[in-house]
Amino acid sequence: MHGFTYDEIHDEFTVPQQFAQAILTFAGGAEGETPPLRVIQGSNTRLEAPDRVAVDAVNNEIYVPEGDRVLVFDRMGNGNVAPKRVLEGPDAGRGLDAVAIDPINNFLIVAAGGGGGERDRSGTRFLVFDRTANGNVKPKWIVQGPRAMGGPFAIYPQRKLILATNRPVGEGLAGDDSYLGVWSYEKSSDGPPLWTIGGPNGIFQMPRGVALDVKNKSIIASDKRLNSVLTFRVPELF
């Protein structure tokens, strides 16, 4: 499972099931062997190998990056439903790995060209689109700093910040050059992060996912090599 999102407005969480080409939504308090509330799966969905997912709880939409396209479903979609919008085409980009929605500033932010597996870890960039972008649309701007982003990322719309974990460059299983970085998505840029947290030469070995606990002004991140989850308190970031 490479994607996961909690929707605090509707108290639900949503996960992709890559092998079965499905998007599952559960009640927030689900525990044990509980069936999902809704399942998006079937021939109309265009789902291929859904790995990551984002939910826009304000505008009631589910976003699924699928490499060369981003599929957008109605949040309440259930069964064999078609996407309501598809961002795809040469102008939109390729290798679309992970997404985040900024409902405050109406942006769709897509991580492209990075991720894991055999893809080039050195080429990650963030493409910033209008939230409702559809079809073959160019990004409004591109943030190119995070060159080795390695997992689903988080955003903090209040300050237009991207928080992404950066894997070691190269094919190693771990590396001291790992870190959690923070970039601005206010405009196009290509530079170092505004912040580096937990590395380089820090605690991270192979960081992956990141989430925010805004109330407690904390950042939560997973690390594959440490096989663990770490929480950093960074009040000045919020």
Partner: protein, 463 residues
């Protein structure tokens, strides 16, 4: 000399702030912080007290002095620019986490017995280790854990999230399967220990899980989760060697396969399936993986997925001929509510008695079937209950020399041993623990995304 009266002067705090602003950094409480400088420019203004007496009007500088000053200003500007650039990244590289969720003890995922050397080998999916113990080791309730005889671990070993294990009955060499993050089967000499490179490596398709070896034919079978496939290599295959055979396709019944076991007497291969699957079809636009390029019998990978073909099937055990290849249907399928399957994972065969052992992960049970069973059948024996100490068993091994069945329990830091005829709620003959009694396992295995449930103030960690 003219008299100049200054109406006010910049206070010391404001001058300090302007200096910091030039450097692009602010200091708060001794710790560098990122700041939006423009919004905090006006801190305080104090009127300049009247200077007593006169001050000198400056004399205009000469051309040389002006040039030198200009050059110095440019140098200062360059230095300031450098300082600004280097200060642009706020360095929290050494920041320590306020909380760190991790399990300090091994979480056993698969098990195999070396009856010749009287040792048991366990893989640890938490700390990425292979642990070797005396077969008869038994951790007393009062002990914190049992120390292994040998540990293989470290970055040189290429061990990560291991889930399948095989011991060469002739040499005692250890075949250990990496799942998901390392597409390499690693083979170690039986005496290997420490952070040593594998004796042999085989570059596999992605998502290997189970392993079984046909010693007579010297063939090695591997299941592939991600591609819902099974590949057969030469037992001694090395590096970039191609598989000998491939089993993959909608007819095969493979659906997120996990454990695998061989019944060489009957020529059957048994495979557990969790049930999630999609169809594959060759696509001209699909890019082959680096590993798969130019290889024979390589599975159709993720790029050849048929969109919208995904299915969520009930869990099953499928039975194929050991020589099966291509997209052929299974000889038999064990599937249905009577089977009690709930994430059936590890498999082992007792060829002498014709019995199939299943590590039934979510039900905390070991199920025993006849190797000839088919359809929706109940297991002939079930090891399950509070006395068994079973906790999410993922690995199972039958030791025919000592008439014992072993399980690797992922969720309670233990491996447990039962007599081969055990049934019901039975206490294990022995337990090997990697951590203190009643110390809960965290169950973290390959965490990728994380989410925060702000309503319950909980961290959600899918694996």
């Amino acid at each position: 000399m003219a008299h100049v009266v200054r109406p006010w002067r910049i206070s010391r705090p404001l001058r300090l702030f302007v200096l910091i602003a030039l450097l692009g950094t602010a200091i708060q409480g001794g710790t560098p912080q990122t700041k939006t400088i423009g919004s905090e420019r006006l801190v305080s203004v104090e009127p300049l007290s009247e200077e007593a007496g006169e001050i000198c009007e400056p004399v205009p500088p000469s051309r040389e002095e002006m040039l030198l000053a200009a050059m110095q200003q440019r140098q200062d500007a360059r230095d300031a620019s450098k300082a600004t650039r280097s200060a642009a990244t706020q360095d929290r590289s050494k920041l320590k986490p306020i909380r760190w969720i991790r399990d300090p003890y091994a979480a056993y995922s698969s098990v195999a017995v070396d009856p010749i050397n009287n040792e048991v080998v366990l893989t640890d999916e938490n700390l990425f280790q292979i642990l070797v113990y005396n077969r008869t080791a038994n951790t007393p309730p009062s002990a914190r854990l049992t120390e292994p005889k040998r540990i293989i671990a470290g970055l040189n070993t290429k061990i990560e999230f291991q889930c399948g294990l095989y011991i060469d009955p002739k040499t005692g060499n250890i075949y250990a399967v990496n799942n998901d993050t390392v597409d390499t089967l690693v083979i170690f000499d039986r005496n290997a220990k420490g952070d040593v490179p594998p004796t042999r490596e085989l570059y596999t398709p992605h998502g290997t899980f189970g392993i079984a070896v046909d010693e007579a034919a010297e063939e090695m079978f591997l299941t592939l989760q991600h591609d819902s496939a099974m590949v057969v290599f030469r037992k001694y295959a090395d590096k970039d060697e191609s598989p000998l055979r491939l089993l993959q396709g909608d007819a095969t019944g493979l659906a997120d396969p996990h454990g695998i076991a061989l019944d060489s007497r009957n020529g059957w291969v048994f495979i557990t399936n969790h049930g999630a699957v999609s169809s594959r079809s060759p696509r001209p636009d699909a890019r082959a993986s680096r590993r798969g390029a130019q290889k024979q019998n390589w599975p159709l990978e993720r790029a050849q997925t048929v969109p919208g073909s995904g299915r969520s099937l009930p869990p099953s055990i499928i039975v194929h001929s050991m020589k099966a290849q291509g997209n052929v249907p299974p000889l038999r399928v064990i599937q249905g509510p009577k089977t009690q399957f709930n994430w059936p994972t590890g498999l082992a065969i007792d060829e002498q008695r014709g019995e199939l052992y299943v590590a039934n992960d979510i039900e905390n049970s070991i199920l025993v079937f006849n190797v000839t069973d088919s359809g929706d059948v109940a297991p002939k024996r079930v090891i399950k209950g509070p006395k068994t100490n079973l906790a999410n068993p993922t690995g199972v091994w039958v030791d025919l020399k000592n008439n014992e069945v072993w399980t690797a329990n992922f969720m309670n830091h233990s491996a447990t041993v039962y007599p081969l005829n055990a049934s019901g709620d039975v206490a294990p003959l022995r337990i090997i623990r990697s951590g203190p009694l009643n110390e809960p396992s965290l169950g973290i295995g390959n965490p990728h995304p994380v989410a925060y449930d702000s309503k319950r103030e909980q961290i959600l960690v899918p694996n």
